[in-house]
């Protein structure tokens, strides 16, 4: 009889993270050849200054913020300010120092060169 069960959980326990901008997942294409891995991500309207590419301990994170300037009255809205955000795990064999990034026509292109040790090598068989 003395037992009191909480009928409802207290709301203070839920900690919601609030983000300033809506986040969106950019569509990506990933290509690979012997020397490098290429990653193309769609980020229309994002300027170079607002892109962040981070590689930390085998994880590649991309983030691109787009802010549109409003001109006049918005009558019909299908896209607005967003933060494009996505992370990938990349193999240890990538040379993080030589990663290059390029932003053109709203597409972020990343070159991830593979380290020498990871490139496939032909092993010659000597006749014995």
């Amino acid at each position: 009889m003395k037992e009191r069960r909480d009928i409802a959980k207290k709301e203070e326990k839920n900690i919601e993270k609030t983000r300033e901008l809506r986040s969106a997942i950019p569509a990506v294409d990933i290509y690979e050849n012997e020397d490098e891995i290429l990653l193309h991500a769609d980020m229309p309207g994002v300027l170079k200054e607002d892109v962040a590419v981070n590689i930390d301990n085998g994880t590649l994170s991309l983030s691109g913020v787009r802010k549109l300037e409003t001109k006049g009255v918005l009558k019909w809205e299908e896209f607005n300010d967003v933060e494009y955000i996505r992370s990938f795990s990349i193999p240890q064999t990538i040379e993080t120092e030589k990663v290059e990034a390029e932003l053109k026509d709203g597409v972020l292109k990343l070159h991830l060169p593979k380290s020498e040790a990871a490139k496939p090598k032909q092993i010659e068989i000597k006749a014995a």
Binding site: M1, D6, I7, A8, K9, K10, E11, R22, A24, I25, P26, A27, V28, D29, I30, Y31, E32, N33, I37, L38, H40, D42, M43, P44, G45, V46, L47, L68, T70, K71, G72, V73, L74, K75, W76, E77, E78, F79, N80, V82, D105, G106, V107
Partner: protein
């Protein structure tokens, strides 16, 4: 043994919260679907915004990875049409691990609310967004009326 009023209040509070969240689920569902990968350029067309600024309309369309030559914009009266295509830009000799961006021909058309001046339309493609400035025809511009 007796439940206190504050407990009952809290219970209803939680129910209200649940009800609100359920109500919002379908709204949020559409939103996250909108920005999923691969939906930027579906065949129904690129996402577009329409702005009105007194004398001009401005239409912006999200067209990442498209160059000028792949786009075709035409206007007839107040009927505007945007056509374009995007092909896979895989460089030679690469294996494809993931291809979400998609290739498609898209086409989207609009009937603008006011009469517009088709001669003076300007189009700009910058950073993957197409900006179209469409000025209104003289008759459709807002005018100040002086009170006599």
């Amino acid at each position: 043994m007796f439940t206190r009023m504050s407990d009952i209040d809290r219970m209803f509070g939680a129910m209200d919260l649940l009800r609100n969240k359920m109500g919002r689920i379908f709204g949020d569902f559409d939103r996250s679907l909108d920005y999923g990968p691969g939906l930027t350029l579906s065949s129904s067309g690129p996402r577009t915004n329409l702005y009105e600024d007194g004398d001009t309309f401005e239409i912006r369309a999200e067209v990442p990875g498209i160059v000028k030559d792949d786009l075709n914009v035409s206007i007839q009266g107040n009927y505007l049409e945007i056509n374009g295509s995007r092909s896979l830009d895989t460089p030679e000799g690469y294996k494809i691990h993931r291809a979400e961006r998609g290739t498609s021909t898209f086409s989207r058309s609009f009937t603008l609310p006011n009469d517009v001046d088709a001669e003076k339309v300007e189009a700009n493609l910058k950073d993957g967004i197409l900006y179209l400035k469409v000025p209104k025809s003289e008759a459709a511009k807002p005018k100040q009326i002086t009170i006599g």
